[in-house]
Symmetry: C2
């Protein structure tokens, strides 16, 4: 059981809205989606995470996230749905992935390892099984990074310490929403087996 709680402490999640690709493979800043905030916070909290970073350089979008989270933290929603409040309490709004990494680093003496994720098969990707094992080591913080839109820009894959293998379904069709992908990743990495 010690290894389980260690694993949970060793993982944080970042949802990136820039730099990511759009449908035409141009680097853009995507709009923050309400359900990306809620669904992923609830899944992250269910699997015990203490940090879920929403990454956007847009100050307007940052303000919007804070407004939504505030509604459920302090506003009408806090009394209506305390479970939602608890989920959203792990959210941190940051301007860049570096900022997320710096914040998460605060709890650890060893460097945070960044792990990029995407739907495409890449060489040298680490398996879910290997990453799961890494998380069970003491003091091994990992920041799991997911992209919105059509996925993380290549520069984030180049900067990342590790790249995680894609989730494979049956056959060639592989178009999970980022919300579904996040849920499956957390389950594969942290669920009791």
């Amino acid at each position: 059981m010690i290894s389980e709680s260690t694993a949970v402490r060793n993982l944080a999640l970042a949802l990136v809205h820039h730099p990511v690709y759009n449908k035409h493979r141009e680097v853009v800043t995507t709009a923050v989606t309400n359900l990306d905030i809620h669904d992923i916070a609830r899944a992250a909290r269910t699997f015990g995470l203490t940090r879920y970073y929403l990454v956007t350089p847009s100050t307007d979008q940052q303000a919007m996230i804070r407004r939504i989270v505030g509604h459920w933290q302090d506003g009408w929603g806090a009394g209506y749905n305390p479970d939602r409040r608890e989920a959203l309490s792990i959210i941190r709004v940051v301007a860049s992935l570096n900022e997320a990494q710096t914040d998460y680093q605060q709890g650890f003496a060893t460097p945070v390892i960044s792990v990029a994720t995407g739907a495409r098969q890449r060489t040298d990707a680490i398996s879910f099984k290997s990453l799961r094992k890494r998380l069970q080591q003491p003091e091994a913080p990992h920041l799991l990074t997911l992209g919105t839109g059509w996925g993380l820009a290549d520069e984030l894959f180049e900067q990342a310490d590790l790249v995680l293998e894609p989730i494979q379904g049956a056959g060639d069709y592989n178009h999970l929403s980022v919300r579904s992908a996040a849920a499956i990743m957390l389950d594969r990495l942290l669920s009791e087996r």
Copy 2:
């Protein structure tokens, strides 16, 4: 590999909007959510399913679903995003769970087994591992049933042939969205291991 494709053929998914509970444990008909349609269809299609039933007795809601699906099937969306079209092609709109079961039964000589799911621990629940094995048998159709709102009404648990164990996270907090739960269930039951 034969068992994998058998498993995929043996599973269909139903998302129930009535009878389900609201926050006050009253039996209600929930409104259909756009992202429940899209996210779960994409996850189901990624894992190879050929049927995803949206269950609602409301003819207005049925019409709305058909309008949304139609937009991506035949309208502007079909050309813009063919992947979305493919995902939504597995959707069937039905008035009741019985109707879903009758439709799915058409492809099989052996009776469809209904499997109720929920977040609460129940006695006699079947494990993910056992259900995964059942799906690998020849001619073993199972209809996995998820509830919207605050979950499936008790009568659906009583009518079900099997009840699936809940997804356990870390600790007591367990508030996955139905979209996250569906994704994790599909992954646990059908992903290659």
